[in-house]
Amino acid sequence: MISVRSLKMTMLKYWLLLPVFIYLLYFFVYPIFSLILTSFFDPEITLKHYIRLYQKPVYLKVIFLTLKLSFFCTMLSIILGYPIAYLLKKVTSNVRNILMIFIVLPFWTSVLVRMYAWMVILGRDGIINSTLLKMGIISVPLNLLYNTFSVTIGMVHFLLPFMIFSLYSVMNGIDENTVRAAKSLGAHPFTAFVKVFFPQSLPGVGAGSLTVFILAAGFFVTPALLGGRKNIVISMLIENQVNININWPFAAAIAFVLLIITLILFNIANKYLGIDAIWGGNR
């Protein structure tokens, strides 16, 4: 009896994983796989969609612009996220719980709500413009919306909580005594920070940057709502091919390029930083 039971127990782990595997294979992997397959057939096997993507400067420019925007947003997220993560590390746990609300609440609020808020703030009749007009600082409303500026602000607002979580999860594990030791040996607090604390926080910067960059590169909502004509990104190109041009194979080819970029970055993150660093050390 015992042997039957222990056999059942060893099989149990596979039975437990089976439903989620079947589900994801059928509703996640298979649709994407069969979609990407269409990019190689039209109707016979061909690479013409990839050649088109490569030869038309317009498309390469979109890919380049997407990566540039993602890079810029990642840098801004580090600059704004680092002080906050450091603050979270410094304060007492009661203060931290309160500060966390400031990060978690926007994180769990619909991205559409946040984009709407930015439209209200930055719009032609928006809060900034109407305030500046009333104060007499400007006489004509500024163009703050539907350009690179508004896309960057909207994206950083979306990405910042992810960056803070990654940074904080690594900083939380840094032993404060190492910094104290440096100071007691005569290091200036600033030197102690630069030479002792900062290097130990770099895995968090790496993990956060990769997470944020991956999210930014595939982002659709913010560029579509806050961007102008010049801010076409890869995901908008895909949407355009699906809904307007109804060119599935070409849309699939662009999606495949985006997927490859994402997977390469995720692999780098996973290899050098470990999956733990990326998902907040839950595992």
Binding site: L24, F27, S34, F102, L112, A117, W118, A252, A255
Partner: protein, 278 residues
């Protein structure tokens, strides 16, 4: 002699530190305000009586809430979103709990790889998942009902549930289970009498996160929903593109309120789980 040579850190920098700290705290305040202020701008606008944007509003009214609750399309969108989020959160929770149990309890070859696969819907751009689902469901001629949206939303909710529940299983004291098993309880009984009650706060938190993920999701709905199966974020999207009417502010405020309630609930659950462990 030694003491004279050693520079004392306490004497060298009190002045500099004050200025630096002041700068640091001001900077942090500004960044935190950047994060939350946009949310709090939406709420007063939803109570404005004007058609046009006024901040702060000159006169208060509930006009936009009446508009929201009195409109067929907004109500249908709300109802569809609630239905979809409920179904998707139940489905994702069941799949997430079973997977989390397997991954935290047993040894596997390539466990990291399995985990990477299970959380990959979180990493792969939603637009790819969305057009994949759109492609598949339109080939099967299934576009236009809410169940396709449920199925696609569940894909992106599974990683969130899995991560939340794994975290609560990790701090679980397994000797309680061994005790039940050694006293002759079957694994099945042990799970429902011992394991589940203990991890229940984590499971409920996971379900709540899955609910809000689906409730707020817009890209998948953008492709899969039609007039009949429209969701709240999808309708907000169209309204944002066409005209910015304060009804969106009313709907946005309700979404913020949902997030606030959910977070309060999750905080209570976390507290309860902590007490249980103590």
């Amino acid at each position: 002699m030694k003491n004279e040579k050693m520079p004392s850190p306490k004497i060298s920098d009190p002045n500099k530190n004050i200025w630096f700290n002041l700068f640091f705290y001001c900077l942090c305040t500004l960044i935190l305000l950047f994060l939350v202020l946009p949310l709090f701008i939406v709420i007063p606008i939803s109570f404005s009586s004007s058609e046009f944007l006024q901040f702060p509003p000159e006169e208060l009214s509930l006009k936009w809430y009446k508009n929201f609750f009195g409109s067929d399309i907004w109500m249908r969108a709300l109802l569809n979103s609630v239905k979809i989020a409920l179904m998707s959160s139940i489905l994702a929770t069941i799949l997430g709990v079973t997977a989390a149990l397997a991954l935290t309890r047993y040894r596997f070859k390539g466990k990291n790889l399995i985990f990477s696969f299970l959380i990959s819907p979180m990493i792969i751009p939603v637009i790819i998942i969305a057009i994949g689902a759109f492609f598949q469901f339109s080939r099967l001629r299934l576009i236009g009902n809410i169940y396709t949206i449920v199925l696609a939303h569940t894909v992106i909710s599974i990683p969130i549930v899995l991560i939340t529940i794994s975290a609560s299983l990790q701090v679980f004291d397994r000797s309680l289970e061994y005790a039940a098993l050694s006293l002759g309880a079957s694994p099945f009984v042990t799970f429902f009498k011992i394991t589940f009650p203990i991890i229940r706060p984590g499971v409920i938190s996971g379900a709540l996160f899955a609910f809000i993920t689906s409730f707020d999701e817009v890209v998948i709905s953008f492709f899969l929903s039609t007039y009949r199966s429209i969701t709240l974020p999808r309708h907000m999207w169209s309204s944002l593109r066409e005209q910015i009417d304060p009804t969106i502010a009313a709907s946005s405020s309700l979404l913020i309120l949902t997030a606030v309630f959910m977070l309060i609930f999750v905080a209570i659950l976390a507290k309860r789980a902590e007490n249980m462990r103590a």
